[in-house]
Symmetry: D3
């Protein structure tokens, strides 16, 4: 069960209106790596968890915190829009280039659709979608997805930090960035523990009965381009990473000769494909 | 520049037709973590790379290999569909429950739209989309995204392996799984090197001027749910992970008291929001 | 059958070009609550109607009128774009901030894709989609959906009215707003008649054999947040609305204790979920 | 702020596995009118509310309850999938028509992607999307949207009720149906109060300065089809509904003659439109 | 203006219920090349036309006919669903493999969402979307798009014809196929006339001031793969097609040496891209 | 198999930064008719081809060239963004209308998400999607789709050419336009040969056993609108086009009387449709 409290985890109060910035902030509310994504991702991972205990407790906890971040951003966006000239002009204001420039940079649906409210979309107005999230039932795979989400998310918030000098906005973003710092650390620590305890190890899934015939393919870096420096990376020499180890990486400057393509197919003539 | 050669990297020849399985295989061709995704993701990361040399060489190389995997899967799907009863019946076949069951499990667009050919969609027929990919310009963030993609992808291929006993299909999947093994190792090794060399470290982005006031928030696990075991994880005690270290994780059994929500907004009356 | 006549229901002639406004007007052409939505929604409801007569006649009639509104908006948008500086510059015009501001506020696909023509998208360029519409086969549910569509649609047109002072545009919007007024009245009257005649009543669907054990749940307002004023609404006290009545609303300041979650699932090991 | 508790509002325990039904249940989890939709819709309406007090308290409360419904459905789906033959066959099982039929009716991504877990998609596998929700800032418009959502939602749950005879599933659906009953009553009561108190009245938005020239258009039912019975409805005769009243509906058997279309446009020749 | 008449252009009456076929038929109602697509495509082309007269008259006419085809298909689908066992079971029917197989092959939203009615989606349940259509303002480009739409559409209807032996369905499809035949002929004839009269010729757009330096590139077939037979086509030898002619096609067995890639970019450091 | 070489087919080097133009250029990278579309379309057609030899060789070749065009555009966009003021302001720059206007016209995700890199989206930020492509297995249908793609694509590039005066950008576009010229010629020549050799002829599919009863319908232009000039086109008189010919087009000024609609359906009452 979820409960709500009419408080915010941290202040979400801008110094002044800024509709263009409100639009940009939508990215970390409703974008691919926004707060809706992590809230839903951790929720679905919790509901798909197969063992009770600390990992599931962790997922439930952070999911609820992320919904609280969704709320902070939505609250901030509403205020950035409150006094902004978002298009309700009743006059020739648009011929003022400053105003026109501002309107041009806003999400016009903020005005037309939401009446100066936040929306479940990214900074280009693309609606949030369920295919942004990952929940596979495998905790090592999913904690890696979570680490990635927090890395990408913090990177975007950091970029947004530099796009405003509003002290109120920066205060909130500064706080969120530190929570993202914690979340990067947390998923990394959790993924590391899974491996140290042998609950899951790489390659994921580790219990798959591998085909011994193709173990070479699991160690070869094969160059499909012509950049010679690819041979210098730790992926092309030295011991392979992960558990259980199996020897050394190998560098192939080009793919081995391939196999012939099978003959083109000849489906039922009632599909009217071109067959001669 | 890209070039094509009419060969395959590995055999892609099923023993027999199986339209239901062809539909399932679409997931790893055109799904969220399918081969189109990784091919496009690594390509865009290469085009967004800011330094020449081994990391970009790596990206260009693997991108081209992944397009070659797209081709193997597309070729396999065409053959799984070739002789299958995918719906062109001209008769009362549908009253045969075996045939009906097969048709019910297929992607009917394989027959109606593609005439028994592969399609750029996932196993539920959702078209592949650009928002599946990640390319941020930050290599540590993106290599983590890549590791995640290979973990999720290998997991899906492993599941698909158990859904058929066709030796030809299993042979191809067995090979792809080992290439996914290599790719998991490769991105992990590359991400590790970035950190060891200090090119990028966690938290990403590491050069962001953090707000000293909120450093506590970067170490606190705050429980927003009631699962007491969350306190037992390595994310709630002991030294924090990543560089530079800053002390120990801390466990908060519940959030500190929040701050009051700002007053609701009162936008321009010409938006006709309800204001009293 | 549908027929077309090369006339418009009302004038659709702007005084002057305005590409930024053309983009905004796309919302009520191709947005969630635009004219394409209502035209398609009423059409599908007519095709899904289960009784002949006045309700289906109503649906067919208004559907065709809405397609006529689609045409008025498309015609208007083409003219707003006709003489506008939508980006075909052949020169350094973009360094003029006024021009740049205008271009920045336009839908650039109006120029690049449509050559200064209207498009089946909303004001952020999201393509119209079939999932905007509702057609359930239940007339009370669907007439409520229709009332909602006309309320939201008129609200958006009213907002757009204030974003221009072009007399030609305002004349057309003024007319459309009155048709929306009629349509709000019409769906409300139709929904009311359905209930008065007992064809459908609330709760929808009224013929469902309700579980007597849970009738309490149908009258309780349960507060899942901490806003104490929720107790003051007509949803928390006094007789319940709808037919047949069943007693009084009841206020619960918080949910009753929940039930334990079932144990986490343990699916087939071949899914490689993390199970301990 | 949102908080989570590891309890469910009501039992969510099926008697037996049923992967086909799990797929169907996705509709009311992640479909257009599923629980994610209402949870997000009420949340965004609360964040967009312009007055503190009971209406906003109502929105926050029900939003959190709906997230709790999301959780019940996700939990149920995980269990329906737990022991189901969702495709991990390792053998010739697919030639058994009963098994094949079951697999054909499942969401294959339940197995391949989620490892037998719930997903944020509808019953056809379409990802949930932000454009399902409505939040305009106008409470009468939005409470009407909410009433519609609860009518459509309860209708779908009622249909799903008849598609299973699993007592555990029916118990949960029976409970949810009564909560939907409450929610239908609640939004209706709230919308009625808004009108009775004159906070908002129809036509929405009621404060818009209407164009007196077109008041006739706000009362005319104009038949754009040839169904003569449309004249018999309460939308074609008698006093108009809503406030303030303005006289009687009027029936026009066909549209008045239209106006000529404006001449086709002639945009800049550099768009290369066909102009002669 | 559009008008509706409660008649169909042709019979749309199946002999018997068939919910699986109803789902398949959705492809040509709401798919990429279904009737909604052509109806909307020709409408938007008409609204974007820049000259009055026969071409625009043609577009308006066929657009309205296509909406009439949408109606025929929607009507047919409603009837195919009317008596079908689409999932409302109230019993253990699903254990009957024949019934289960049928249910597995249906669009379950036909039952759950539409109550046995048609939907604006394709045969995999993907909602119709505005990005299926083409309307550029250039008549030769658009008539070519229209010819393609009719070729693809007729191909799909022909495939669907073979997937049923219901005489009523085949009668309707047989009629629609002949209208598609007419429409293939019509767009071809119209495109040919545009070229013969010199209104538009290939390459489109023909008025673009071509760069004389690159005329060679307009005649070279450059082989980027290794299929030697590509040299044998009429695209690799003999006079070029289109107006005005410019000489002969030329065959290059491989691309000329390329040019060096520009150096990787170094954006503002506040984007935190990895720069070494 | 695909291979990559770190060279470009042609120069892709702008004279100066221009983030607004970078956004516009996304249309021909990731839009409906952008380079990703043709690269994927020709690839899937090759994988769906049913005969070896020159047509498939052609498809494989051009597919790889189009991926090389994707790369040129991505490279160009990265450079257009490199030094542009894309929003990282750290100051009150936004109050400068010139800068504000530029920012307003950019794709803000270029900055926030990609850190000044290219993205797989169109000029409005809509992600590229698999439903843009066509691959039916019928070569005449598909080569017509390809011709259309090249006509639309070249038209868009020509429009974009006029939206800049950057010599470097124009040089690249000038080259691409000539490759599009070649590709228009190539697909036209290929489609013509298919017909001349009788491999495929119109109407597509030509092997479908047509219903003799409806041949009239294949020659009649039926006017569903009131534009009298539609009678003057070559589609309304004279011999029909295509093979085999069958007589003359015929003009019908209006549809023949239709047939009655079937009675509305009465589905199972457990769907709770309104039935009286
Ligand atoms: Ca967060
Ligand atoms: Ca791969
Ligand atoms: Ca309307
Ligand atoms: Ca609910
Ligand atoms: Ca048609
Ligand atoms: Ca190209």
């Amino acid at each position: 069960m979820f409960f709500h409290k009419q408080e915010l985890q941290h202040h979400a109060k801008p110094e002044k209106a800024d509709a263009v910035y409100a639009r940009k902030l939508q990215e970390v509310l409703g974008g691919q790596y926004g707060e809706i994504t992590v809230a839903m991702q951790y929720s679905f991972q919790a509901w798909s968890a197969h063992i009770p205990g600390k990992y599931r407790d962790l997922l439930f906890s952070v999911a609820a915190e992320e919904f609280s971040h969704v709320e902070m951003l939505a609250t901030m966006i509403a205020q950035l829009l409150e006094k902004a000239p978002v298009g309700a002009v009743d006059g020739a204001v648009q011929s003022d280039p400053t105003i026109a420039a501002i309107v041009g940079g806003t999400d016009v649906q903020h005005a037309i659709v939401a009446g100066a409210g936040p929306r479940p979309v990214d900074s280009n107005g693309n609606p949030w979608q369920g295919s942004y999230i990952t929940a596979s039932g495998n905790l090592l795979a999913d904690f890696t997805a979570n680490a990635n989400a927090e890395l990408q998310g913090r990177l975007q918030v950091a970029r947004l930090y530099h796009m405003t000098d509003d002290k109120g906005v920066r205060d909130m973003l500064g706080f969120l960035i530190e929570r993202d710092t914690m979340h990067q650390r947390m998923w990394t620590a959790a993924a590391m523990e899974l491996q140290e305890k042998g609950i899951e190890t790489m390659p994921v899934p580790d219990k798959f009965p591998r085909d011994k015939n193709y173990l070479d393919a699991s160690k070869q870096f094969i160059n499909f381009s012509d950049g010679a420096n690819a041979a210098d990376g730790p992926w092309a020499q030295g011991p392979v990473t992960g558990a259980p180890e199996e020897g050394d990486f190998e560098y192939l400057p080009a793919p081995n000769p391939g196999v012939p393509m099978p003959a083109p197919t000849t489906p039922d003539p009632r599909f009217y494909g071109t067959t001669a």
